[in-house]
C-alpha cells in the first residue's frame, strides 16, 4: 500500500530525511515512531503530496506521489499534526466543503457526513463553530475529514498529541477499529502510543530508519541481549569462573562488595536455573537472581540518545545525495 524507497528531503542545507526506505502492507497498521525532529512529519508530507522529495521515490496505493499526485490524494485520508481547520465554519459546513472538494455528490456527501460524525462522536457538536470546540473535538473533526471519502489509506500525524487520557484512550480505540478496514500509518514520538495501537513499528531518528518490526520482535531482540543479575556470597573470581563454564554464557562482569559479590551474566538463553544449581552445589548463599529485562522504552531511549544497538539496526542506507 505504501512503498518508500531511499526518500531524502532537504530544507535548504538541512537534511531532514536521509535515504528512508520502508513498506506498509495492505491492511497493516503501522506506527512511525521517533523523537521530535526525527523527520516523521517531513516523510508524511511527502507521502501525502504536500511537498516533493529531494530524492528517492514513494508510491501510495499503487500510484507515484509525484507523477500521479491526484490519484494518491484521492486515495489517502490525511490528518496533519496541527489539525488545521477553518475556525469560522461550523462542523457540518466544514465537512460539506471537504466533501465537495473530494468530489462527492450531494447524496453521498450527506451520507458520508452522517457516517463520520457518528463514528467520530461529533453528533453533539455538528452545528457548532469549529472555533468554539476543544482540542479533543477538533482532533475528531480532523479525523472525520480524513475518513469522509472512505479512503483505503489513512495517514495520521501524531493523532493523540495534546489530548487528555480519556480522549487518548477513545482515539486509540477508534484507530484500532478503523484499522480493520483501512491501511493505517500513524506517527508518534511516544512509544506506548504506537505500541498500544500498532502491529508493526518503524523507528526513525535523525532522518534515518533505525529499526523496524513488530513490538514483540523488537522486544525479543533486546531481551536477547539482556542480562542476569546475581548476588552471591562467594569469592568473586571463583564464582565468575564457575558461571563462565555454564552453557551459553558469553560474559560475566563482577563487582565485589564485602563478603558478597554481584555478577552481571550475559547469556544467549535464560540460565537462571543452572546458576541456582551451581550456587547450591557450592553452598553459596544467593540473595538475588533476576533477569534484567530491557524494555522497548529503554531501547527507544537508547536510540534517541544516539547509541544505536548494533544488532537492532534493521537497515540504514548510505547518503543518497545527488
Amino acid at each position: 500500500m505504501i512503498e518508500v524507497r531511499n526518500l531524502t528531503k532537504y530544507y535548504g542545507s538541512l537534511c531532514a530525511v536521509n535515504g528512508v526506505s520502508f513498506t506498509v502492507g495492505d491492511g497493516e497498521i503501522v506506527g512511525f515512531l521517533g523523537p521530535n525532529g526525527a523527520g516523521k512529519t517531513t516523510t508524511i508530507r511527502i507521502l501525502t503530496c504536500f511537498h516533493p522529495a529531494s530524492a528517492g521515490s514513494a508510491t501510495v496505493a499503487g500510484h507515484d506521489v509525484f507523477t500521479e499526485s491526484m490519484a494518491v490524494r484521492a486515495r489517502v485520508g490525511y490528518m496533519p499534526e496541527s489539525v488545521p481547520l477553518y475556525v469560522e465554519m461550523r462542523v457540518r459546513e466544514y465537512l460539506r466543503f471537504r466533501g465537495k472538494i473530494r468530489g462527492l455528490d450531494r447524496d453521498t456527501r450527506e451520507r458520508s457526513i452522517a457516517r463520520v460524525t457518528e463514528r467520530c462522536w461529533l453528533t453533539d457538536v455538528i452545528d457548532r463553530p469549529i472555533g468554539h470546540l476543544s482540542k479533543g473535538y477538533r482532533q475528531r473533526v480532523g479525523l472525520a475529514d480524513a475518513l469522509l471519502h472512505n479512503p483505503p489509506v489513512l495517514i495520521l500525524d501524531e493523532p493523540t498529541i495534546g489530548l487528555d487520557p480519556t480522549q487518548i484512550r477513545a482515539t486509540r480505540a477508534l484507530i484500532r477499529e478503523l484499522a480493520e478496514d483501512h491501511t493505517v500509518m500513524l506517527s508518534s514520538h511516544i512509544l506506548p502510543e504506537v505500541e498500544a495501537t500498532c502491529r508493526r513499528l518503524i523507528i526513525i531518528n535523525k532522518g534515518q530508519i533505525v529499526a523496524s518490526g513488530t513490538p514483540a520482535e523488537l522486544r525479543e531482540r533486546i531481551t536477547g541481549g539482556s542480562k542476569i543479575i546475581v548476588e552471591i556470597k562467594a569469592p568473586a573470581e571463583q564464582a565468575a569462573t564457575a558461571i563462565r563454564k555454564l552453557d551459553g554464557v558469553r560474559a560475566v562482569e563482577t563487582h565485589a562488595d564485602g563478603d558478597w559479590c554481584s555478577l552481571a551474566v550475559s547469556s544467549d538463553s535464560d540460565r537462571r536455573e543452572a546458576i541456582f544449581r551451581l550456587a547450591a552445589q557450592h553452598d553459596w548463599p544467593l540473595r538475588e537472581l533476576r533477569r534484567d529485562v530491557a524494555t522497548l522504552e529503554d531501547f527507544f531511549v537508547k536510540i534517541v540518545a544516539g547509541a544505536r544497538d548494533a544488532h537492532s539496526v534493521a537497515h540504514t542506507t548510505g547518503d543518497q545525495q545527488r
Binding site: 491526484m70 490524494r73 490525511y78 481547520l85 477553518y86 469560522e88 465554519m89 471537504r98 472538494i101 468530489g103
Partner: protein, 239 residues
C-alpha cells in the same frame, strides 16, 4: 470546476463572516457617499451625473481592493489549512481561481452598493444611464485586474497586513502618479506608460467608449497575475 466553486463559496463565506469584510464595504460606501455629497452630484438644478464618483473611485480602489484580497491565500498559509487543501485532489489553478472569484464577487457586490446613487439620480433627474453603465463596466474590469494583483500579493506572505501593503503600495504609486509620469516622460517611455495607464483606460469607459484595447488590457493583466500566483503557490511547495 466543482472544486473551484467549492473553494470560492468557502472563501466568500469567510469574507462575509469576517469583520474586515464589513469594514471594507462600509468604508467604500462611506467614501463614495461623501464624494457624491461634496461634489454636489445630486443637487437640484445641476446636470445629474455620477462622473465625479467614477473619477475618484479608482484612487479609493487602490486601497480597498487589496484589503478584500489580502486574506485569500495568506490566511491559508497562516492557519495551516493550506496543508489539508493542497493534499486534497485540488489543482493549484482551481485553488487560485476559486480564491480570485470569491474576491471578485465580493468586489462586485460592494460596487453594486453604489447603484443606489444611480437610482437616486434617476428619481431626481435624467442621468445618462448608458454612460454610467459603461463606467460600471470599466470599474468591474479595473477590479478584475487589481484583484488579480491583490491575490498575487496575498500568495507571497502569510501575514494579511503585509499582503495588503504589498498590494496597496504599488497600485497607489501606479494610479496616483500615472498622469504625472505620462506628462514628464519622453518618447518611447511615454508611449509605453500611456499604454498601461489605468486611468486613461478607465476614462474611455467614462466617456461611454468600450474599446477592445482597454478590455484586453484589464483582462490580460488579470490573467497574467493569476498565472504568477499559481507559480508562487507551486514554488512554495518546494521549500
Amino acid at each position: 470546476m466543482r472544486n473551484t466553486i467549492a473553494i470560492m463559496e468557502r472563501e466568500l463565506f469567510s469574507l462575509f463572516f469576517s469583520p474586515i469584510g464589513y469594514i471594507v464595504v462600509a468604508g467604500f460606501l462611506l467614501i463614495t457617499g461623501v464624494i457624491v455629497l461634496v461634489t454636489g452630484s445630486i443637487a437640484p438644478g445641476k446636470p445629474a451625473t455620477l462622473r465625479s464618483v467614477f473619477d475618484f473611485t479608482p484612487y479609493v480602489l487602490t486601497i480597498i481592493i487589496p484589503a478584500i484580497s489580502m486574506r485569500t491565500i495568506s490566511e491559508e498559509y497562516r492557519s495551516g489549512t493550506i496543508e489539508t487543501l493542497t493534499t486534497a485532489p485540488v489543482t493549484d489553478t482551481q485553488f487560485v481561481i476559486g480564491k480570485y472569484l470569491a474576491a471578485m464577487i465580493f468586489y462586485t457586490i460592494m460596487l453594486a452598493g453604489t447603484l443606489v446613487y444611480l437610482v437616486l439620480m434617476m428619481i431626481y433627474g435624467n442621468p445618462d444611464v448608458g454612460a454610467s453603465l459603461a463606467s460600471y463596466l470599466g470599474l468591474l474590469l479595473l477590479g478584475a485586474s487589481f484583484t488579480a494583483f491583490g491575490v498575487f500579493t496575498s500568495s507571497l506572505t502569510k501575514n494579511q497586513i503585509v499582503a495588503w501593503m504589498l498590494g496597496m503600495v504599488p497600485l497607489m504609486l501606479f494610479v496616483w502618479f500615472a498622469a504625472f509620469i505620462v506628462q514628464h516622460a519622453q518618447g518611447g517611455l511615454r508611449t509605453a506608460f500611456q499604454k498601461i495607464n489605468v486611468l486613461r483606460h478607465l476614462d474611455q469607459f467614462n466617456r461611454g467608449l468600450i474599446t477592445t484595447e482597454s478590455v484586453v488590457f484589464f483582462l490580460a493583466t488579470a490573467v497574467f497575475f493569476l498565472f504568477l500566483t499559481t507559480k508562487v503557490v507551486e514554488s512554495r511547495r518546494w521549500r
